[in-house]
Subunit: 215 residues, 2 copies
DNA sequence: CAGTTACCACCTAGGTGCTAATTT
DNA sequence: AAATTAGCACCTAGGTGGTAACTG
C-alpha cells in the first residue's frame, strides 16, 4: 500500500507495552465506477460487507513500550492489499471499485492474553483512530492519471517509469513475441492488485498526527 | 553468518512466552594462523577477551509462545558478524583469526521486566545450549578452499560463482581500469567480514537438536 | 465493453566471493 | 609477508506500472 499510512502517538504510558495495528474499513456499501469525462466516481451498485470481518495488520515492532512508540513515526509501509478472497498470505482483503478508510489501533498489552498471534481486536484496552484524508478507492487498473503520476513520482520502486526523456518505457521491448498466457487458475497464486489512493497524504510530505489520552 | 545455526526445541511450556536468542563465545584466548602446507590452524598468540561482553542476537520471532517455538525449526539465518569494534548496527562483534562457538538461549518471559529491547541476558529464567559441531574460526580472507567451495555450493547468494563452465567469473571483466581506492576512513561504514566455518552443519542437510526440561 | 490478470522491463535492497589496493 | 579493506560483477528477493490477453 503506497503511499503508506504514517502516524505519531502521544500520551501513552512510557512503561506500558502496546501493540499497534491497522485494518481497513469499508466507507459505505456502494460499488463505484469512474466516469472519465466528468472525472468523478459514481455509485454503480450495492455490496454487503456485513459478513466479512476485516483482517488485522499488526505492526512488526509490536509489542513495544509506549516510550519507544512515541519516539518514532509509526509507518505502515509493509501493508499489502489483495482482492483475492482466498488469500493465505495474511494480506488485507478488499473488493475492487469500493471506498475504504484505514484505522489505526493502539492496543494495551494484557498479560492474561497471548497477543503474540493476534488475529482480531481484543474487547478492551483498545483505542482506534481514523483519518478522513486517508480514504481511498480500490482499483485493478488506474483510472486517474494524477494518481499514476503521484505514485511514479513518489515511490522509489516505480523509478523506472520516471524521466520520459529516455522513452524506452511504455512500449513493449519485444512486441514481436506473442506471449502465451497460462490457462486460468493453473497456478492460482495471488497477484497483488493495484490500488488507487484518493486523498492519502504522501509519506514524507506530511504526517498524520493524533493524540490519545492515557489508555 | 552462513551456514546458519538451526535448532529444534522440546519440553517448553506451550502456553508460556519465551525469547530465543544467540550469542557467540570465544573458545579460548588464542590467536590462530593457518599453515597452508600442513592444512592446520596453529596458535599464533594470545588475546584477552575478558573485557568484552558479547552482543546478543534476539530471534526476530521473539517473544512467542512455547508451542509455536516447538512447532518450527528455529533458524538464525539473519545473524551478522563484524570485526569492527565500533559497529553501530547491532552486529555480533568478533576478532579475526580466533575460534568461536555460538550459544543458543531460551529465555522465559518475565512480566516484571521489559524484555522488548533486551541487550543482555537476564540473571534467571534462561537456559543456554552449545553445540560443539558449530565451532568456527573467523577470517577476513578464506584460508581453506574446501570452505570456499562449501559456501559457493550451498549459499544461494553465491550462485554467481558456481558453474565454472561459463568461466566469466574469477577474473576481472575490466582489468584495464585501474581502480582508485578511497583514502582510509573516508566513509567509515562497516564492511561485513568474511568468516570461515569449521564444523558447522550445512543448513538443510542436518539439524542440531536439543532438549530442555520444562523451563 | 469494463474489469481483471499474467507477464514483462525496470527498479530498490542487499547477500556472495574475487581481486587489487592498502594497511600493519 | 600477512592481514584487511573497497569496489566489483553476479546473484536472490521482491516492489513498480504498462501492456496484451483474458473474463464475464
Amino acid at each position: 500500500m503506497f503511499p503508506s499510512v504514517r502516524v505519531k502517538v502521544r500520551n501513552l504510558d512510557p512503561c506500558q507495552q502496546y501493540y499497534v495495528a491497522m485494518d481497513v474499513m469499508p466507507v459505505d456499501s456502494k460499488r463505484y465506477r469512474y466516469v472519465y469525462h466528468s472525472s468523478q466516481w459514481m455509485v454503480a451498485g450495492n455490496t454487503d460487507h456485513s459478513c466479512i470481518s476485516p483482517r488485522l495488520y499488526v505492526h512488526p515492532d509490536s509489542p513495544c513500550a509506549g516510550e519507544t512508540w512515541m519516539r518514532q513515526v509509526i509507518s505502515f509501509d509493509r501493508v499489502k492489499l489483495t482482492n483475492n478472497e482466498m488469500d493465505d498470505k495474511g494480506h488485507i482483503i478488499l473488493q475492487s471499485m469500493h471506498k475504504y478508510k484505514p484505522r489505526v489501533h493502539i492496543i494495551r498489552q494484557d498479560p492474561r492474553l497471548d497477543l503474540s498471534q493476534i488475529q482480531s481486536l481484543p474487547s478492551e484496552g483498545v483505542h482506534s483512530f481514523c483519518f478522513p484524508e486517508t480514504e481511498f478507492t480500490t482499483v485493478t487498473a488506474y483510472q486517474n492519471q494524477q494518481i499514476t503520476k503521484l505514485k511514479i513520482d513518489r515511490n522509489p520502486f516505480a523509478k523506472g517509469f520516471r524521466d520520459p526523456g529516455r522513452n524506452r518505457y511504455g512500449s513493449r521491448t519485444c512486441p514481436q513475441n506473442t506471449r502465451q498466457r497460462d490457462p486460468r487458475g493453473s497456478a492460482g497464486l495471488t497477484t497483488e492488485t493495484g490500488h488507487q489512493i484518493k486523498c492519502l497524504r504522501v509519506a514524507g510530505q506530511s504526517r498524520a498526527e493524533f493524540h490519545t489520552s492515557q489508555n
